[in-house]
Amino acid sequence: MKLSVTRIFLRAVLTAFVASLCGCTIYSDEMYPEDPAADAFRSVYSETVDRFFRMTELCDFFSAYQEIKSDADAGLALAESYFGDNVYYLVYDRLSVTGWGVLGLSDDGSFLVGDSAVELWPVIPVGDRTYVSDIVTASGSHSFRSSVRDGKVVLEALSVEYVAADGVKVSLELISPVSRDMCSCGQAPLWPDAGALEVMFSGQGADDFFTVRFEDGARYMERQ
């Protein structure tokens, strides 16, 4: 059979046309996540564990800064070694770092730390680069004990219990110390590289209980 160029092209185009016709109803199933725990934990993590890491770093810097605060250049150099270019302002008794939060020095030597000046939590330096905090707010209670050891921020104790904005009760308990690399020049890992947490959600249809184990930046969620 002798085929002209036109016939060959028409056949190819009509093939595509009929293929389009046959596929004219394209189905694409979009499945919501099978296990919502991962998404739910991610939202809780930034408000608790990650916040405690950042608060510790702010306190650790400001503790060291107190020794050299009369030397403005040395103080700024120290701040940049922790937070890079993210230091918004630094004075004798106040600090603001973009992405970390704000810190103020109380008369009793403790720190008032928070994501912003709207809500500040007291954090007490107890020596040897160790910090404790025990807060009771309108929504619940948050307590932790953290330290800086060998270039790592370690949460040695942690207990969190609060009611989220949508009415879900959130509880976190430490199974083993949770740690991540200390911030350096404004860089810090988001997730811990060691430790484990127990997580419980209750109410509003979100009843769940599981553990989260951290290993080298990965998270492993397990249910009993």
Binding site: M1, K2, L3, S4, V5, T6, R7, F9, L10, R11, A12, V13, L14, T15, A16, F17, V18, A19, S20, L21, C22, G23, C24, T25, I26, Y27, S28, D29, E30, M31, Y32, P33, E34, D35, P36, D39, A40, S43, V44, A164, A165, D166, G167, V168, V170, F201, G203, Q204, G205, A206, D208
Partner: protein, 211 residues
Amino acid sequence: MAVFLAGSFPSRASERPEGRGGDFSFRRYEISVGGGVYPGRAAFGYNTYSGYLFYPVGIGNIYEASRYYEKERTSGSWTAAFTFNFTKVMALGASLSYEGGWSGLYRRSDGTKVTGCADNYISPMLTLRVSWLNRPLVRMYSSVGGGVAVNLTREATLEEGRRLPVESDVTFSFQVTPIGISVGRKLFGFAEAGIGHQYVGGFFGIGYRFN
């Protein structure tokens, strides 16, 4: 499809198309139909997202959303066009396109449809085409078109037996085709590659030229 292809053009071994290798034959008018892969409105996103049921995002809604799944489908994009050739190079076309999209939210436990939404677009468009290669059999061109799209969106909350009224909206519509090729004389097939509200990717069709 194989049967369709085999039977479309019966062979006539002795046929020799008239004017083969001859001069370019200018015909004033063209009509054509075609379908796009991937449909343009689907590529840019329909207004059928049911996830709004799970806003604001919170732990409770994260768990609630996990109890449902969403299924989406599209009719594809289909266009009928009439083109007026001013010259061998310049042409102006008027086209009418249709594309429809549907999505439904289903309860994972029993497959019950909770809500459904439909998005239908009727798009008239004017297209300016420049043919930069004109041979007796093969033409290559580029085009740009603009118009409007009348969007009819309908949403129904089936569990409550409530059907919301049809909402209509008129939006801007465009299509840019950097390269297209047609093969044939009076009856021709064409294939295009472009981006816009008619299609994103390829467009295939057939047409007929006449005076």
